[in-house]
């Protein structure tokens, strides 16, 4: 699955961009998630404001929060989608994630201990899944979020086979 079109990483000149994007549906999922958690905050504020009879300061706070939540729900998922990328080579798992802050992670296939997939309720609604490869280091898990479900299943299989090739306990 090594991609041939090597593209320099505009975010970090010197590294190249991991080959694959995550599923486009991830944008909707992240939007929904951000909107839902933002809505909870706004709802709590509304309740608190209603208790004290909607004073001006509360109204201002609600407007500010709602604007912030809305902007976050619109900007963050699209920005995130442009950042999130992943790639599996014969030697390593390579991912880029984040949005405002960006993380690149590299884990050698030979050091992978366990491979997990996880699908929360929200992810299932959007047909998504995430795959986690852990290494012997507690700080080393590599997570790929927002994958298409079937792609995640196949990736899990692929990684399972690839890690099986290296004997040893991988510390």
């Amino acid at each position: 699955m090594t991609t041939d079109n090597v593209v320099a990483d505009p975010l970090l000149p010197g590294l190249r961009v991991p080959g694959n994007r995550v599923s486009r549906r991830a944008i909707s999922y992240w939007t929904a998630r951000a909107a839902a958690s933002g809505a909870v905050v706004v709802a709590v504020e509304l309740v608190l404001a209603a208790v004290s009879g909607f004073p001006a300061i509360w109204r201002a706070a609600i407007v500010v929060t709602a604007t912030f939540v809305g902007l976050h729900a619109i900007i963050m998922p699209r920005w995130r989608y442009r950042v999130h990328r992943w790639e599996v080579t014969d030697e390593a798992l390579y991912t880029r994630s984040g949005w405002f802050s960006v993380h690149w992670r590299i884990a050698p296939i030979s050091r992978i201990q366990t491979i997990d997939s996880h699908r929360s309720v929200g992810e299932r609604l959007f047909g998504l899944a995430n795959v986690t490869a852990t290494t012997a280091s507690a700080a080393g898990p590599v997570r790929i979020h927002g994958l298409d479900r079937e792609l995640a299943d196949r990736l899990l299989d692929q990684l399972a086979v690839a890690t099986g090739q290296t004997p040893g306990d991988a510390t």
Binding site: L15, R119, L156, D157, Q158, D169, T171
Partner: protein
């Protein structure tokens, strides 16, 4: 003593044991072809797998293999789980019952909780499945949040079977499969709660004997067993019991216990004990310069509070205290400050020294044989830690600000299986207690066989942008705090001197920023990655490049503007990750590439190609 924990975990399993027939049949039916979908990674598996298989993602493991089947937990786990949940909820339920005893809704709550517990038990049973193939172990669980865990059988190190009272009453147990993975979150643990005893036993046999079969060149456990067995035949079962309980900590605690046995069994090696460090009384002067004294003080204070609370004694009302308070209030303000200050200072110094003595008395670090270090220390409870050199991946030389001012430092081992804790826990892996810096550096280089200048020499600095970032961060923090203080005094009509005094934060933070920049540095020499950070707690981490099992590169939006990045090496030892902060982008990538060439190189892009 390599693989100590592995060895003990395997001790109960007889060597070359034959698994019972049912299990053998199951594992025989597993895939014989290690790569059932060699048609290309993504060509495998029917693309329209239905929901039945969804979440598993195990086309390769499951569908490609006719015999290997998913197994469920024991049906009895449907009883165990609700009961344990209910027992846990008992205090809550009792409270509700009492609270609502008049209205009778307490019963309703109880019924609801019981129904909930029963349903979760059923769901847990219905959704948890596991599969063992020739190569891997899979575990699926969860109804709404679905989770699939998988681990190569090679990587299985321990299989712990535990059963609490309820488990035992129903004849089931809990099987935890330990891998080298150091994940601290328990929810990601690989465990099966509620398999029958027979299943658990056969699981253990299959998984552990499988390790022996599949990896001839493999875990440290295999070679360690024959060595240890003759040396300590009587001790093995006892140690195994310990390790099952202690888990990770067994690696630290258990070699110490095995030390004497090794002494008896291998006289040739044991003779060569070379002492490297022994505590000197003059080092006690460093005691007040670390946080240990404060910790002891906190513990003492807490204990006094506990005692006075428990015994209902009002300490302030007792005779001696009243006398002291009365005398004290008779002083003038200046006298109060002088007397109070000196009492606190002397008390603190004494307590810190007492703490140092209690922890580090008789501290002795010695090389034992060719490949182990032995640390003994302690006044009341004596601790002995044995660290195998093959597990030692580096050292950390830490110099908290005060200690550094007095040219002191301490040294901590970075080893796999030795968890580096915080505060007092850190002492578990101490190689040198707070002592003169030269001693710490000498020991660090002697233990790792390093050239001296790696532990003490100059490092490569991170340049202008990193310095600017230190100042902006420190000053921005100070400005925020000052703004908050100004706002608070304005809102509360507080005295003006409060916010005027808070301005002192500005020069203080600038000083810290300057010092933080001075501390910042990295170096790669002879296969050792050295990084140093911090001001209030400055640390120089020296880790072996061979111990690096992955990289994390982190860049905030601000760092991107400044052309910096934070490079983190992940490792299985010590704190699990060691960072080089705010290194210029090109330097950082070059450093990572030089440290572990094969790993990073495929992902590097020529600079020339990157610039349009």
């Amino acid at each position: 003593m390599t693989g100590a924990s592995d060895e003990t975990a395997m001790a109960p399993v007889p060597v070359g044991v034959t698994a019972d027939p049912s299990v053998a049949e199951q594992s025989d039916a597993g895939p014989s072809d290690p790569q059932p979908f060699d048609a290309g990674p993504f060509a495998a598996g029917p693309s329209d797998r239905g929901l039945a298989m969804a979440g598993a993602g195990l086309a390769g493991a499951g569908s490609g293999v006719p015999g290997a089947r998913w197994r469920r937990l024991s049906r009895r786990s449907m009883v165990v789980r609700p009961l344990t949940d209910l027992v846990r909820l008992l205090p809550l339920l009792a409270g509700l019952l009492i609270l609502h005893s008049r209205t009778g809704s307490g019963l309703l709550w109880g019924a609801a909780a019981s129904v909930f517990a029963i349903v979760t038990g059923l769901v847990h049973w219905a959704t948890t499945r596991y599969l063992i193939t020739d190569e891997r172990v899979y575990l699926r669980r969860g109804l709404l949040n679905q989770k699939t865990l998988s681990v190569a059988r090679d990587r299985v190190r321990t299989v712990d079977v535990t059963a609490h009272l309820l488990h035992r009453a129903l004849g089931v147990c809990r099987v935890s499969i330990g891998t080298g993975r150091n994940d601290l979150r328990s929810s990601e643990n690989f465990h099966l709660d509620g398999v029958t005893r027979a299943d658990a036993e056969s699981l253990r046999l299959v998984l552990l004997s499988g390790v022996g079969e599949f990896g001839a060149d493999e875990p440290a456990a295999a070679p360690a067993r024959p060595q240890a067995a003759p040396a300590e035949p009587g001790e093995a079962p006892a140690l195994a019991g310990q390790s099952a309980l202690a888990g990770q900590s067994a690696a630290a605690g258990q070699p110490a216990a095995a030390g004497p046995a090794a002494l008896a069994g291998q006289p040739v090696l044991a003779e060569r004990t070379t002492e490297m460090v022994r505590l000197r009384v003059s080092w006690l002067l460093f005691a007040p310069l670390t946080m240990t004294g404060l910790v002891v003080l906190g513990v003492l204070f807490g204990a006094i509070l506990q005692i006075t609370n428990a015994t209902d004694i009002n300490l302030a009302a007792t005779g001696p205290v009243r006398h002291v308070v009365a005398d004290f209030t008779a002083f003038s303000v200046l006298q109060r400050i002088l007397v109070g200050g000196s009492v606190v200072l002397v008390g603190y110094v004494l307590i810190a020294m007492a703490g140092y003595i209690a922890v580090f008395w008789n501290f002795r670090l010695a090389g034992q044989g060719a490949d182990t270090l032995r640390v003994t220390r302690g006044l009341l409870s004596i601790r002995a830690t044995t660290i195998s050199l093959s597990r030692l991946r580096g050292v950390e030389i830490s110099e908290p600000l005060l200690l550094r001012a007095a040219r002191g430092a301490r040294c901590v081992a970075i080893a796999t299986g030795l968890h580096v804790g915080r505060g007092a826990e850190r002492d578990g892996s101490a190689l040198v207690p707070p002592a003169p810096r030269a001693v710490a550096q000498r020991v660090a280089s002697a233990v790792l066989g390093l050239p001296d200048d790696i532990c003490s020499g100059p490092l490569e600095s991170h340049g202008r942008a990193a310095r600017r970032r230190r100042y902006t961060r420190a000053l921005a923090g100070a400005v925020l705090i000052i703004a908050a203080i100004c706002l608070a005094t304005w809102a509360q009509d507080g005295p003006a001197w409060v916010w005027v005094a808070s301005l002192a934060l500005l020069p203080a933070s600038a000083l810290i920023a300057a010092d933080r920049y001075r501390s910042l540095g990295h170096r790669l020499a002879g296969g050792w990655l050295v990084s140093r950070t911090g001001s209030l707690a400055r640390r120089r981490n020296i880790i072996s490049a061979d111990a690096i099992i992955g990289w994390r590169i982190h860049q905030t939006w601000f760092q991107r503007r400044q052309g910096l990045l934070t490079l983190t090496a992940t490792t299985a030892a010590g704190q699990q990750h060691y960072s080089v902060r705010d290194i210029p982008v090109a330097d950082g990538l070059a450093l990572a590439a030089a440290a572990t060439g094969d790993l990073l190189l495929p992902f590097l892009q020529e600079r020339a190609a990157a610039d349009p």
